[in-house]
């Protein structure tokens, strides 16, 4: 359904060219949830924003590659078409901080109703109101008729996230991209939101790209997971395969670095160092500097992506060397 090929996003800033996304391939099928995990600054949000072409406005932006949604390359569409035909219709987004993604000075009803209004799906105030109530009901906001005229700050964090989710799926999009939809929420609320996602997906068959830095969240909701490091996908595959048999040293390290219940190790596995700068990333494997299995080859060239088993791909010289 969605296929991202060789996506590059380079930002021209004073301090130089930031290669925020540097050749990313992804695909999502209908009814599937793809998790993208990675450290802060690895380019997860940039990838999503590039797909929707919603990059920050300042500075120059260079986009490359292809983003095919049902065969149409979104990067080549005129802004107008993208805005009126795709965004909010075929692709919807839930942005990084759910708590700030509602406009504080308009009522929730207004905001949920706005896409309906401007996409011409509900003519007239009354019709729109009814539809908004339906949307809010669908995400289980209690007594939506009365809450409609409330402002976002009168809603709790969890409810705001439901509202945003409701807004996003109201147009029955093909694809939903969610950037860390639960990171700002407490675990008890997080569970509710993830259940909501699952239910919506079951009902509508929407494809979801879920970005998270929490390996636990990814494990519990995603069908497939891609691990991103310094602007590139280093490993991707079916969630079970990836968690049980991680092939990339980075994935392995991540999984070992987190404590688990009932496991009282003296020390956690710690990955030394920190991620490379994206202004001037290393030539070879970007993880090489922190990698326990580093070989001379790793510094020389970026490892090609190889498919270990069906759908499990990894970019690592170790894997290609056998």
């Amino acid at each position: 359904m969605l296929s991202v090929q060789g996506l590059t996003t380079h930002l021209e800033l004073r301090r130089g060219m930031v290669r925020a996304v540097d050749g990313v391939d992804l695909h999502v099928n209908q009814g599937e949830t793809l998790g993208v995990v990675g450290e802060s600054g690895s380019g997860k949000s940039m990838t999503i924003l590039s797909i929707l072409r919603l990059l920050p406005r300042q500075g120059g932006v260079r986009l490359g590659g292809k983003v095919l949604l049902d065969g149409v390359d979104l990067l080549q569409l005129p802004e107008k078409t993208l805005s009126s035909q795709y965004r909010g219709r075929k692709i919807a987004m839930i942005s990084q901080d759910p708590l700030t993604s509602l406009n504080p000075v308009f009522t929730v009803g207004d905001q949920v109703g706005a896409p309906l209004r401007y996409h011409g799906r509900a003519e007239g105030r009354e019709a729109r109101r009814r539809q908004v109530v339906q949307v809010l009901e669908s995400v289980r906001i209690p007594s939506p008729e009365t809450r409609l005229d409330d402002y976002p700050h009168q809603f709790s964090g969890g409810m705001r996230q439901r509202v945003v989710t409701g807004m996003a799926i109201a147009s029955a999009p093909r694809l939903l991209v969610a950037d860390e939809p639960t990171s700002a929420l407490d675990v008890t609320i997080q569970v509710q939101i993830m259940a909501l996602f699952r239910r919506i997906q079951a009902q509508t068959g929407v494809g979801i790209i879920l970005i998270t830095h929490d390996l636990g969240v990814a494990a519990s909701i995603c069908h497939r997971v891609a691990v991103m490091y310094a602007g590139r996908i280093v490993e991707s595959g079916d969630v079970r395969t990836l968690y049980k048999r991680p092939a990339h040293p980075y994935t392995q390290a991540l999984l070992q670095a987190i404590p688990r219940f009932g496991d009282r190790r003296e020390r956690l596995y710690a990955i030394p160092g920190s991620p490379p700068s994206l202004v001037d990333p290393p030539h070879g494997c970007r993880f090489a500097a922190r990698c326990p299995h580093r070989k001379p080859l790793c510094d020389d060239a970026y490892p090609p992506e190889i498919e270990l088993e069906s759908g499990h791909k990894v970019s690592c010289w170790l894997a290609s060397a056998g």
């Binding site: 060789g6 590059t8 021209e12 800033l13 004073r14 050749g23 929707l52 072409r53 919603l54 990059l55 920050p56 406005r57 300042q58 500075g59 120059g60 932006v61 260079r62 986009l63 490359g64 590659g65 990067l75 080549q76 802004e79 805005s83």
Partner: protein, 296 residues
């Protein structure tokens, strides 16, 4: 891989493709004007082509050199008393900048101290200082200036005093706000945990972090002081002869606007250039210090 450049969403403005040179954003105008001003201010008497108060009625209303009847001895022309405009503008630079300097140092000092105390300690001290600020702000600055000038007599000291009295609140309010937010920073709490005294916290943790703001405020104030002094001069309460200020020149020359447009225009342009320079510089500093804007 084909590389295409597309505009960021929503913006219909063209995206600049050229790589930015770091010199681009600099406040060139300010950098060009300010050294001139400083030269006039520091150079003092030595640079002046004529006596700024040397009046010669026979030379009244000489037009600028490039007009018919003008002479290069008086490049910008002369005023109604035959005084050289260029000389007076140069002499005025010094007064204007000195007034601004005093005003900034004193009002900035008082305002910063008051703002820091109010913001840091809060409570009654804050209430007291803020009431003083309110009182000050509720008296129109020019009314206060008028009355003060009537008490003290117009002149340099009065102008400085009036500006100080008017502007300390400006610093106090902004510094207070900044300190209240700085106070929330963990490092201030941690400094207390580390055992630092209040003075140390002010000196080491608050003041250095206020410097950017203060620098911006001070830069912007230069322009405001010049304009304020001009308003006082208009009412006859600004800088007085034999001191020269641009505001005074402007106010004096307004009656001859139709006879000798240059007499009012030249000091007016000096004011404009200086204010623009100081405002542009302040604006640039503000952007420069604001990490969110810096990336522009």
């Amino acid at each position: 891989m084909p590389e295409i450049a597309i505009p960021p969403a929503g913006a219909t403005a063209p995206v600049r493709q050229r790589p930015r040179r770091s010199l681009r954003g600099l406040p060139w105008f300010a950098l060009a004007v300010l050294p001139l001003l400083l030269a006039c201010a520091i150079g003092g008497e030595a640079l002046l082509p004529h006596d700024p108060n040397g009046l010669d009625l026979g030379l009244a209303f000489q037009p600028p050199a490039w007009l018919a009847g003008g002479s290069w001895a008086y490049p910008l022309g002369t005023d109604n008393m035959g005084r050289d405009l260029l000389t007076r503008i140069m002499a005025g630079t010094r007064i204007s900048l000195v007034v601004a300097l005093y005003a900034i140092l004193i009002s900035g000092g008082i305002g910063t101290a008051a703002g820091m105390l109010a913001g840091y300690f809060g409570g009654r001290l804050d209430a007291l200082i803020m009431r003083l600020v309110d009182i000050q702000m509720s008296i129109p600055a020019l009314a206060l200036a008028l009355v003060l000038a009537a008490v003290l007599g117009p002149g340099f000291e009065t102008v400085v005093l009036v500006i100080v009295v008017t502007y300390w609140t400006w610093y106090a309010r902004i510094v207070r706000g900044e300190v209240m937010s700085l106070k929330q920073r963990d490092y201030v709490a941690l400094a207390r945990v580390a055992g630092c005294g209040t003075l140390t916290i002010f000196r080491r943790h608050l003041l250095p972090n206020l410097l950017n703001t203060l620098l911006v405020l001070a830069t912007l104030q230069v322009g405001q002081v010049i304009i304020f002094e001009a308003s006082l001069s208009f009412l006859g309460l600004g800088i007085q002869q034999p001191d020269v200020s641009w505001g005074l020149m402007l106010a004096d020359a307004r009656n001859y606007i139709t006879n000798a447009w240059w007499a009012i225009t030249m000091p007016g342009l000096a004011i404009m250039a200086t204010c623009l320079a100081s405002n542009l510089l302040g604006d640039w500093l503000r952007d420069h210090f604001d990490p969110k804007r810096r990336q522009l």
